[in-house]
């Protein structure tokens, strides 16, 4: 067992972790959309 700190703090931006998680998932959806558009634009 360790004796380190176990603080839980709010994220440094966007106010809550829930919003940060949502932001990451929206970012992933955007990336997949961009990759799909990229592949479609150059694959004939």
């Amino acid at each position: 067992m360790t004796t380190g700190p176990q603080r839980d703090e709010p994220p440094p931006f966007w106010g809550s972790w829930r919003r940060v998680y949502l932001g990451v998932l929206l970012y992933l959806a955007t990336l997949i959309g961009l990759f799909w558009a990229f592949a479609r634009a150059f694959t004939r």
């Binding site: 360790t2 004796t3 970012y27």
Partner: protein, 556 residues
């Protein structure tokens, strides 16, 4: 490699070791040595997590995979951000509050000693094999291209890693990972820019995209659903999420990185940084492979990229005929590629469509000639040699050294984290738990140092004897997916099903492993799905056994 390349390569290696030794000072308690006293900032953990995952063989073979098969491999990483979000919300606070050195220590708090011992043993077997194999695979590729005996590559890489990891513990591992990741980033950016600059003057960047796309090398997203296809949007999102959950949530080589965080928030940020940065990074690596493909549309590639195998088949009677076929196919493809670009630039859709068909036919003929050449060789799969052949033959002095340094850095960062975590599990979950329960902190510290040295030497020895494994290599290569699903299942039971007790979880893990090995040996299911299957079987069995026990049908 020219003198400047050697200076860059050895300068980088010396810098890594010196920095590791410097940053690892003061690791004189077990807590400092294994968890850095829980003082790490998020960016150091983030880059360490990334560097641990990015092994040299990923670097080398991903670019080759894109050259041969296009960018579909990117889908493998689509589940990673989802997994990072889930782990940030669940595993990170649970592990931090449990105040543990290893993920498996938590399993004893939650279940019992036998479940902890079983999952620790699975980790030691799986990670020990994977560590040695990754080292072997890297050494064998570098050896062929640098012309050194393979033991020199292995001993150089592992020896340096053992030096700073044994002395500095997890602090040295983490801070050298940061430095190594920066070298990898620099190598990637320089490789991409140089590859684009090396394209012929008459081929613009957009022309290169058109050529790569028409040959199917930019196929980043495949939305079809097929359980037997390795890389689709769905296997990436579902199977990839389970794989990433298993790897980042249950594999001590990764868990230990974020256990060193100074707070839950810092550990979460380190995982979320990876959620944001990993997919674009893999995209860049794959994109380099696509650009290298376009480069070789205009520059004749060797029939086989594996130089030793190519030399061997030169003596075969059929070689001249196959090589001539390959030469004709290359000339034809280059000619129709120029025709396609002319039609494409003119904006004539009918001509463009016709030229695309010609270009694809020419590509198919070239692929067939290459396959025929590969058929003559003992080891025809040369994917791992494509990128490094391009680097060593065509890149300017200094850049070759930087890219080689990036590849060494990728190998060393993975090996250091792996031997550090293997030693941690050996000491905390085996030695301290079962052999010497009440020894002094000093004894555990020295055991940790000895454990690190042992696992480093083990990886080196395994890499030396790797070639003796022959055809087993391919089977062992996917070793992670054979174990991860069951390990993840144990943690899912621990986190989300408070009613389930130790014996039910233990039997669940055994059933999960049995299901994965059955799927591996007797079905054609793609390996990414093993993680889903194993996890689901562990959870279902654990719940069923617990339910039976509660109803008095089974005594646990």
């Amino acid at each position: 490699m020219r003198p400047l390349d050697w200076v860059v390569l050895f300068g980088s290696l010396a810098g890594i070791v010196t920095y590791g030794l410097y940053k690892g000072r003061g690791s004189d308690t077990v807590n400092q040595y294994l968890l850095a006293g829980k003082t790490m900032p998020w960016y150091a953990m983030a880059l360490s997590i990334m560097a641990t995952q990015a092994s040299a063989i990923t670097f080398i073979s991903t670019t080759g995979q894109s050259y041969v098969d296009g960018m579909r491999f990117i889908q493998f990483y689509f589940g990673l951000p989802v997994a990072m979000v889930i782990l940030s919300a669940t595993a990170v606070p649970i592990f931090h509050r449990a105040n543990v050195y290893t993920a498996y220590e938590y399993l004893e708090q939650r279940f019992d000693a036998k479940t902890r011992a079983l999952v620790s043993a699975v980790f030691l077997i799986q990670r020990g094999l994977a560590c040695g194999l990754a080292l072997y695979a890297t050494a064998i590729v570098l050896t062929v291209l640098l012309g050194w005996p393979d033991w020199i590559t292995t001993v150089l890489m592992t020896g340096l890693v053992i030096l700073y990891t044994v002395l500095g513990g997890v602090k040295a591992v983490t801070w050298t990972d940061v430095q190594q990741m920066l070298i990898i980033f620099a190598g990637l950016i320089v490789a991409l820019l140089t590859a684009i600059l090396l394209l012929p003057g008459e081929v613009s960047f957009l022309d290169a995209l058109a050529l790569a796309g028409a040959a199917g090398r930019l196929n980043a997203v495949d939305a079809s659903f097929n359980l037997r296809t390795n890389y689709t949007l769905w296997s990436g999102l579902i199977g990839g999420t389970f794989l990433a959950l298993s790897y980042f949530g249950t594999d001590q080589s990764q868990v230990q990185r974020y256990l060193t965080g100074r707070s839950i928030a810092q550990s979460r940020l380190s995982l979320l940084f990876n959620a944001v940065a990993k997919v674009p990074m893999q995209f860049v690596i794959l994109f380099i492979g696509a650009i290298v493909f376009v480069f070789f549309v205009f520059e004749k590639p060797p029939l086989l990229f594996h130089p030793v195998e190519l030399e061997k088949i030169r003596g075969r009677a059929e070689f001249a005929e196959v090589d001539a076929r390959f030469g004709r196919a290359f000339d034809e493809r280059r000619s129709v590629a120029m025709g396609f670009l002319k039609a494409h630039r003119a904006g004539d859709p009918v001509q463009t469509a016709r030229r695309v068909e010609e270009y694809r036919r020419a590509q198919k003929e070239l692929d067939a000639a290459r396959a025929q050449g590969a058929g003559l060789a003992e080891k025809g799969n040369d994917t791992n040699y494509i990128f490094l052949t391009f680097v060593t033959r065509y890149m300017p002095a200094g850049v070759v050294g930087l890219i080689m340094a990036a590849i060494f850095a990728a190998a060393m960062s993975s090996v250091s984290a792996e031997i550090n975590s293997l030693a941690t599990v050996t000491v905390i979950d085996i030695y301290k738990r079962h052999v010497r329960k009440a020894a002094s902190d000093r004894e555990y510290l020295w055991a940790s140092r000895l454990g690190t040295a042992f696992w480093g030497c083990y990886a080196m020895a395994f890499a030396q004897y790797g070639r003796e494994l022959g055809s087993l290599i391919e089977a062992v290569n996917r070793v992670g997916s054979l174990f991860y699903g069951a390990m993840l299942g144990a943690f899912v039971l621990a986190f989300f099903f408070p009613r389930v007790r130790g014996t039910a979880a233990f039997l669940g893990v055994l059933a999960g492993e049995a299901a994965i090995f059955y799927a591996h040996l007797f079905t054609g299911i793609a390996f990414l799905w093993y993680n889903v299957l194993g996890c689901l079987v562990v959870v279902a069995t654990g719940l069923a056994v617990q339910r039976a026990a509660e109803r008095g049908r089974m005594r646990l």
